[in-house]
């Protein structure tokens, strides 16, 4: 927050040459794909998921979220997709012989569109853990984050006269209690694995190199605890979803089925955030250009101003 305040003041002071001479504060774009120093994330492995949905129950309890009814019934929590009541969902893909599962939640982008979009810093990326957090006290409900999210993750409480935006915050509130994302705490097979993104990426690479049919040790719950289970490795699509997508994400997925079929969009590597911030850093660097234009306009308006 303090860094941003300084950014703003500098920008507001605009034309000062002293400011222009000093280094430009880092934009998301210029940081590229560098991970935050203690980046935390999740590796979801569709091949290990049994579709038990224990993670969904744990998520609702940990985040105090209401049950969601679909259709006529009012007994069972049965959300159809992510919503303002459901921050994490397991969906089953009917792939013929064997079903495949997919876990949808906030991917915690390295260059998050929602954070760049938010005019009031309600959505922020934690500089240490990289978790994209939401502050309802700042939010004005403009919903630009929803437009800017390539994965349609942030959800809005449409039926509430005093609505909020809802999205997964990787159980940020549990970290202080020495706990971690409730979905990963609850996952019985290691399909949802929590940990430092660096280690999760190595783990994902390791799995992609496994020979299908062979038995391997798979870490469970949290990659750093050393707890493992033995599973037979199945064939993977040779790709880590989230390694390169729009600059990369901290929640990554592995799957035996095309990610496209699982509802994950095919996107390019370069983030749209870097497009936009590249542009605005050219046009609005320290407000120099607007200040110069304003100077010119003052001159012509004064000179040509006697038309009334």
């Amino acid at each position: 927050m303090s860094i941003q305040r300084r950014d703003f003041l500098k920008a507001a002071l605009g034309g000062s040459l002293a400011a222009a001479a000093s280094a430009r504060p880092g934009l998301a774009a210029s940081q590229g794909r560098d991970l935050p120093p203690e980046a935390l994330g999740i590796l979801y492995d569709s091949n290990l998921c049994i579709g038990c949905q224990a993670c969904m129950t744990a998520c609702k309890q940990a985040n105090d979220m209401p049950v969601e009814f679909s259709g006529q019934q009012t007994t069972w929590d049965n959300p159809l997709d992510l919503s303002a009541k459901t921050l994490n969902i397991i969906k089953m893909y009917d792939g013929g012989d064997t079903p495949a599962f997919v876990k949808r939640q906030c991917l915690h982008c390295l260059e998050p569109g929602c954070v760049s979009a938010c005019p009031v810093s309600a959505l922020e990326k934690d500089p240490k853990t990289g978790i994209v957090t939401y502050d309802k006290k700042a939010c004005i409900g403009c919903r630009y984050c929803q437009v800017a999210c390539p994965y349609n993750v942030p959800k809005f409480e449409w039926d509430n006269p005093f609505p909020q935006i809802r999205k997964c915050e990787l159980c940020n509130h549990l970290l202080a209690e020495e706990r971690y994302a409730a979905c990963c705490e609850a996952c019985p097979t290691g399909a949802s694995l929590f940990g430092p993104v660096k280690e999760l990426r190595q783990e994902a690479e390791r799995r992609l190199n496994m020979e299908p049919g062979q038995y391997h040790e798979f870490p469970v719950n949290h990659i750093s605890t050393g707890k493992t289970q033995t599973h037979k490795a199945e064939a993977y699509v040779p790709k880590i979803y989230g390694a390169d997508e729009l600059g990369g994400t901290q929640v990554m997925l592995l799957s035996g089925v095309d990610f496209n079929k699982l509802g994950l969009p095919e996107v390019r590597d370069k983030s749209y955030v870097s497009d936009l911030e590249g542009l605005s850093s050219k046009l609005y660097s320290y407000m120099l250009l607007p200040a110069a234009v304003f100077g010119g306009l003052l001159y012509v308006a004064k000179r040509h101003g006697d038309h009334e």
Binding site: V120, Y272, L297, A301
Partner: protein, 381 residues
Amino acid sequence: MSEARPLGGRVFTIPFAFGVLVILIALFYLFKRFTLGLGPVTGMNDGYPWGLWIAYDVNVGTAFACGGYAMAILIYVFNKGEFSPLLKPAILTSMFGYILGGVSVFIDIGRYWQMHNVFLPWHANIHSALLEVALCIAAYCLILLIEFSPVVLQHFHIKDLQKKLNRVLFIFVALGILLPTMHQSSLGSLMILAGSKLSPLWWTNLLPLLFLIAALLLGYAVVIFETSLSGIAYQNFEEIRLIKKLSNLVPWILIVFLILRFFSVALQGALGAMFAGDLAGNIFLLENILLIAALVFFFQAKNRDKHSRLIWAAFCLILGAGLYRFNAYITGYDPGNGWHYFPTFGEAMVTLGIVAIEVLGYLWIVKRFPVLALPRKKGAE
């Protein structure tokens, strides 16, 4: 010769009463919106978080309201003082368009009671294009009020303040050109973040430039349209002469816009997508047919000296350029996963109510305040 003076006549006419009725219906739906939430009143959803109120009222509405901006550029930057009789009515339209655009934002945003956070530096996200839009539009609303205030001061014969204001008015004129340049382009920048959800027929890094030119085009088109109609109605040949001159300039801006537009689509490798036969492709064709029709009408109006062609040109330009900006927000936007959006009756009524306030407010003010440049009354020399 002409002079700015009140049009006179009755304010409360039958069309006026009809407008009031529309506003009352809009108020009913607004009551529902503020008591039940946005969902029960609008067609918006998590796939289409922005609907008519942002895409039309704010995005297209403020561009329609760029007449004041567009004329100010012509008059002050290019020193075409002869056009200044057209400035006051243009600024009045702009004032209504922008202030009601701001009102629409307040209606649309979910947590409106925290709207002031936009103005608090410790909340500011300077990387947000929307913050820039919000601050610039708010500031420009104030500028428009100040730019229009001489009319009110003149009406109430407050000469002292009028003189003082005249001395510093050039500062507000300069801001009145700078601010719309910034936020009208940024309204386009906003959709850069929509990325792959926006069809390549609209998505391009040139969005800010195209939006800015579209705003200029709409500004001139609205001035030509309004002035042509009022010029015919009140036999104001002086205004018609000015409009004809203005119409020599506009088609050239339109040509630049069309070249950039097709160049940007080609750059995305998406030229073929316009013939895909889907909604995006078809609406793209409609949008550009309207713009090309406007171009043809403009050139016909020049050659054959037909004034009616000019009205058609402006009309097609308003529809085409307005559609461009609307499509870039809604029709060209597809979040996938089967999401759909169509405005509800209540949502549309709120938009119509806002348009009604603009029209009624404009009529009331031109009838009571010295805004329109009208022919001098006989014997008033």
